[in-house]
Symmetry: C2
Subunit: 285 residues, 2 copies
């Protein structure tokens, strides 16, 4: 596996592979890799393309009171994991390499960036869209892979790619969970043992909502109420949002008539966790 | 010369040329071509690259009370001109081809987009940066050529390319003028014969300012005052701005100690004309 922190060096590696007619697959990450990331890499490897993984904790997507400073990092462990996973190049630039001068160019995906996580984290998705756009320009991938846990991020990137005619296919990879159901997240290390236990209510409440839909519930507001009640009853989690939305564009839904996403964000102490479940038509039609 | 309105068809043409190791040069325009555009094409041809010209009157960069509807168009004449100029592909997409769904993704180059023309035309440079970014993603050029008349636009595109790591070299091509000094512009056709005559004051006042710098004037405010006075005395033009700015980043200048741009925008009737002159160090050191 090659490993570089330099944009120029990465560009030369990519250009040489493209020159040989090789397709490029790309998995952008913020590092501190878990099985969710490894699943992205596994899906990307199946394409047989030249596989690039980036690790970059992007300051642009953190708010002033968020966890940029304490975001977990372990580049040597990450490097071993991606090498074992069969990655061809690990790109881990410094902040100075990515932003050598004050950044004044931003990519915004309006409407999609203002709801759900965007409402609680103003500027977050602008930072995400901007860095992913820049990484796409550097890596020039044919395919890129994003986790379904960050479903809103996935839709925003997909829309950015469509609106700006980027020649890249965007894939969503299912959520990977711990054995007990907690969605994998680099931020899970922040949780105390008690919070870790209580956080299971997220997965359980999503399952409850899915079961209720299968049993005939069609009211989005009722489902949200049921999920909220379960979270409030069974944990000390502070709900940021619980929403049933259209699975294609996150538009508001009153009555469930097509695929929806049940999405939620809940704080346990200082740690904000997100989770979601897409309920397709065949689950209830 | 090939000619297409379809993104997909253009991408196939480009991919085939790139496959043969050909570099791509790109000249984006809004059509109604004049000698300024032809000079861009001439500079681009010297690179020996495969040469793509686009003609697209981009609604995103027009304000609600601007001249989108009456912007001059003559695609058949334009097609003859670019064919004679040795262009390889003319790309002239429809608005529906470029924006098949409501556009929600925007590229902003902050600070640079708010001053000078950006102050009078809010959203204008966001529209420009967004469409140029999209065209870059479609055409995948190695080099792109912009006229110095739209100096602020040139700097904004250069900054966008640097900030987002687009692998494209951006070139600025000198202003082409009519024999009597009026800067070439598709909007010159809007002028009445009297306005056309009065508009010469723009070039003359820029020359005056340059002469005054060469004679030792170092005060940006004095120069701006001299230009304003000349325009107000010798025409009915209504000044939008007259500014002496740093030529590299358009930052404010009080005393002239390095390369500056003298930039102005003046309305003759409903027609807003811009012009500028870069005064390099060797003109006055």
């Amino acid at each position: 596996m090659k490993r570089t922190s330099h944009i120029q060096e990465l560009c030369e590696i990519i250009a040489s592979e493209k020159g040989r007619g090789r397709k490029i697959a790309f998995v952008p990450t913020m590092g501190y890799l878990h099985k969710g990331h490894l699943s992205l890499i596994e899906h990307a490897r199946k394409t047989d393309a030249f596989l690039v993984v980036s690790i970059f904790v992007n300051p642009l997507q953190f708010g002033p009171n968020e966890d940029l400073g304490r975001y977990p990092r372990d580049i040597e462990r990450d490097a071993r994991l991606v090498e074992e996973a069969g990655v061809d190049v690990l790109f881990h630039p410094s902040v100075e390499e990515m932003y050598p001068r004050p950044m004044v160019t931003f990519v915004e995906v309006r409407e999609l960036d203002a709801m759900l996580c965007g409402a609680a984290r103003p500027g977050h998705f602008r930072g995400v869209a901007t860095v992913v756009n820049k990484l796409f320009n550097i890596v020039q991938p044919d395919m890129a892979f994003f986790g379904q846990k960050d479903y809103q991020q996935y839709l925003i990137i997909k829309r950015m790619v469509a609106d700006l005619s980027l020649p890249i296919e965007i894939f969503s990879v299912p959520i990977v969970r711990e054995d007990d159901g907690l969605a994998m997240s680099s931020r899970n290390v922040y949780l105390t043992p008690e919070q870790r236990q209580e956080a299971l209510v997220l997965f359980k409440s999503l399952n409850l909502a899915q079961k209720n839909i299968q049993a005939g519930e069609r009211s989005a507001r009722n489902l949200e109420r049921q999920v909220r009640e379960k979270i409030n009853t069974e944990s000390h989690g502070v709900i940021d949002y619980v929403e049933v939305r259209d699975a294609c564009d996150l538009s508001e839904v009153t009555e469930i008539t097509g695929p929806v996403i049940l999405a939620l964000a809940v704080k346990f102490g200082k740690t904000r966790l997100i989770d979601n479940k897409v309920v397709e038509g065949d689950h209830y039609v």
